[in-house]
C-alpha cells in the first residue's frame, strides 16, 4: 500500500476543511470496506485520506417520519437493515441492505460509502497488465475482448461496461431518493439518480460530487408503495455474493386490485443504478398475474445490449423482475 497523509475528523466542518486542504485526489474513509480494500490492491492510491468514521452528525437515521425517511451517510448497513419500521413498511430497502455483503462487512460499511462503492469488474480490480479505462484512462477495456459475464447490459460505452455493484442504491432509485451533500460552497441536494454517471468517454468519473463535497444523508419520500415492495437478488450462491441480477419493485393496488403506483429498478446489469420506466408503464393499471408480471420483466429488458457471455441475463432478469413484482404484489395493501 502506498503511504498517505491521514487526518481524522470529528465534525462536518472539519471534514470539509480537511478534504479541501488535502486536494482533489484525497479520499474519504468511513467503513473502509471498499477504499481500504482497493488501497491494498493499489487500485486506489490516494495521497491523503480523511477519516470520517467518528463524525457523530453523520451517524443517525430516522424511519419514523410521515413525509420522508432520513438516512445519515455514516449509519451502518447492519443497523439500518434491522430497523423494525423499515422491515415492515419498506421491506425492499431493508432487503437491499441485509442481502448485501456479510454481517461483518455490514457492521463496518456505511450507507454513504456504499452508494459510491466501486465496481467489481475483475479487470478493474485485477490491475496491470489488464487494460482498464476506468483505472488508467486511455488504456482500453479488457472486458470488451475478455470475459464479460458480469458486465453491463445497460448504460455501457465503448470505453467501459463495468457494472455498478450496489444493492442499496438500486432500491433507492426506485423510491426517488434524494441525496444531501455538503461542500466548500455550502449544502445542496440532488436526486439519487443523478449521483452516478454513465461511463461514456470518461469512465474514471463515476459520480457528480464536486471536490470537497461529502454525502450527508439520503432522504426517501414516504410512500404506501413501501409496504408493497421487494428486493429480489439472484446470486451465483445463496448468500454473500454480488447480484447476477436483482430487481427492486414497489407498488400499490387500487380498489379493483390493479397496480396504481409502480416503481421498478434493476441491479447487477447496468453501469449505474437503473430505473426501468418501461416496465412500470407495462404493469400500471393491470392486475398482477403471471402474464402481466412477465410482461413487466420483458419491458425492463427490451433495450438490453448484451455482450458475448451475459445474454443469459435477459431471460434471468425478465424472470427476476416478474418474481419481484409478484412478491411485492403479495405484500401490497389496496
Amino acid at each position: 500500500m502506498r503511504p498517505f497523509a491521514y487526518t481524522k475528523v470529528e465534525t462536518l466542518a472539519e471534514a470539509v476543511d480537511a478534504l479541501v486542504a488535502a486536494g482533489p485526489q484525497a479520499r474519504l474513509l468511513a467503513g473502509g470496506t471498499t477504499l481500504y480494500d482497493l488501497m491494498k490492491l493499489e487500485i486506489e492510491t490516494p495521497p491523503a485520506v480523511v477519516d470520517v468514521h467518528r463524525v457523530a452528525d453523520l451517524a443517525g437515521f430516522d424511519t419514523s417520519g410521515d413525509r420522508e425517511l432520513v438516512f445519515g451517510a455514516g449509519a451502518r448497513m447492519a443497523d439500518v437493515a434491522e430497523d423494525g419500521r423499515l422491515r415492515r413498511d419498506y421491506p425492499a430497502l431493508s432487503e437491499s441492505l441485509w442481502r448485501a455483503a456479510s454481517q461483518q462487512l455490514r457492521n463496518m460499511a456505511t450507507l454513504g460509502g456504499n452508494l459510491l462503492q466501486r465496481t467489481r469488474c475483475p479487470y478493474f480490480r485485477g490491475g496491470e497488465p489488464f487494460a482498464c479505462n476506468k483505472r488508467r484512462p486511455g488504456s482500453g477495456c479488457a472486458a470488451r475482448e475478455g470475459l464479460d459475464r458480469s458486465h453491463a447490459l445497460f448504460g455501457g460505452s465503448e470505453a467501459c461496461i463495468a457494472v455498478y455493484p450496489g444493492d442499496w442504491a438500486t432500491a433507492l432509485v426506485a423510491f426517488d431518493a434524494e441525496v444531501d451533500v455538503l461542500g466548500p460552497g455550502g449544502a445542496r441536494s440532488l436526486p439519487l439518480v443523478r449521483l452516478h454517471r454513465e461511463p461514456g468517454d470518461t469512465p474514471q468519473h463515476e459520480h457528480t460530487l464536486e471536490p470537497g463535497e461529502i454525502i450527508l444523508r439520503v432522504r426517501v419520500p414516504a410512500t404506501p408503495a413501501g409496504r408493497g415492495s421487494a428486493y429480489l437478488k439472484i446470486r451465483d450462491r445463496e448468500s454473500y455474493a454480488f447480484a447476477v441480477v436483482s430487481a427492486a419493485v414497489a407498488l400499490t393496488l387500487d380498489g379493483d386490485g390493479r397496480v396504481d403506483e409502480c416503481r421498478i429498478a434493476v441491479g447487477g446489469v447496468a453501469t449505474r443504478p437503473w430505473r426501468v420506466p418501461a416496465a412500470e408503464q407495462a404493469l400500471r393499471g393491470n392486475e398482477i398475474t403471471e402474464a402481466s408480471a412477465r410482461a413487466a420483466g420483458e419491458a425492463a429488458f427490451a433495450d438490453a445490449r448484451p455482450g458475448r457471455d451475459n445474454a443469459f441475463k435477459i431471460e434471468l432478469g425478465t424472470r427476476t423482475v416478474a418474481d419481484a413484482v409478484r412478491l411485492a404484489g403479495s405484500r401490497a395493501v389496496a
Binding site: 497523509a5 491521514y6 481524522k8 481500504y36 455483503a101 456479510s102 454481517q103 461483518q104
Partner: protein, 168 residues
C-alpha cells in the same frame, strides 16, 4: 479537533493509539497503512485471528470491535483508537474452561483443519448475540461471511444452533 497524523507524533505516516485487546490495555504506535489484523498478529502476538484472503471475503480474521463482529483485515488499525477488541483468545473463561460455543464446535465436529475456526466462533458468538440463530436457514445466512474450505458447514450450523437452543 481534527487529528492529523503529521502533527505531534513525529512522522507523517504513524500514529499513537490506545485500545484494549481482550481486556488488556494496549498502547502502540501504528503505521497508518496497518490493518488491525496485522497489528494483532505481527505486533501484539495475538495470532488467533487468521489471514485468509486479506480482502474481507473469507471471514477468518473476524474479531469483535466494541462488541460487534468485523473483519480485522479491512479495519485500519488507526480506527480502533479507544475501542475494545476481542479475539478468540478472549473467549474462554478465566481458568481456561471453554466457552459453550467452543465446546459445541468440538461436540458437533464443526472443523477439520481448524484454520477458519477462530473466525467462525467469533462470528457464531455474534450471530447468537444478534439473535440471528433462530433456525438453520438464519444461521446459514448470518454465517455466510465465514468460508470453510474443509466444508464443515453442517457441523458449524449444528454447533451454533445447539448453543442457541441451550440459551432459550
Amino acid at each position: 479537533m481534527a487529528a492529523t497524523a503529521s502533527t505531534g507524533v513525529g512522522s507523517a505516516h504513524e500514529l499513537d493509539l490506545s485500545c484494549t485487546v481482550n481486556g488488556e490495555p494496549v498502547r502502540v504506535r501504528v503505521d497508518t497503512r496497518e490493518s488491525l489484523l496485522d497489528l494483532l498478529r505481527e505486533r501484539l502476538g495475538v495470532t488467533g485471528p487468521k489471514k485468509g484472503c486479506d480482502h474481507g471475503q473469507c471471514g477468518a480474521c473476524t474479531v469483535h470491535l466494541d462488541g460487534r463482529r468485523v473483519v480485522s483485515c479491512l479495519t485500519p488499525a488507526v480506527q480502533v483508537s479507544g475501542a475494545d477488541v476481542t479475539t478468540i483468545e478472549g473467549v474462554a473463561g478465566p481458568d481456561g474452561e471453554l466457552h459453550p460455543l467452543q465446546q459445541a464446535f468440538i461436540d458437533h465436529d464443526a472443523l477439520q483443519c481448524g484454520y477458519c475456526t477462530p473466525g467462525q466462533i467469533m462470528s457464531g458468538l455474534a450471530c447468537l448475540a444478534e439473535g440471528h440463530a433462530g433456525d438453520d436457514d438464519e444461521v446459514r445466512e448470518y454465517m455466510s461471511g465465514n468460508l470453510c474450505r474443509c466444508g464443515a458447514y453442517a457441523g458449524i450450523v449444528a454447533a451454533v444452533r445447539a448453543v442457541a437452543e441451550q440459551g432459550r
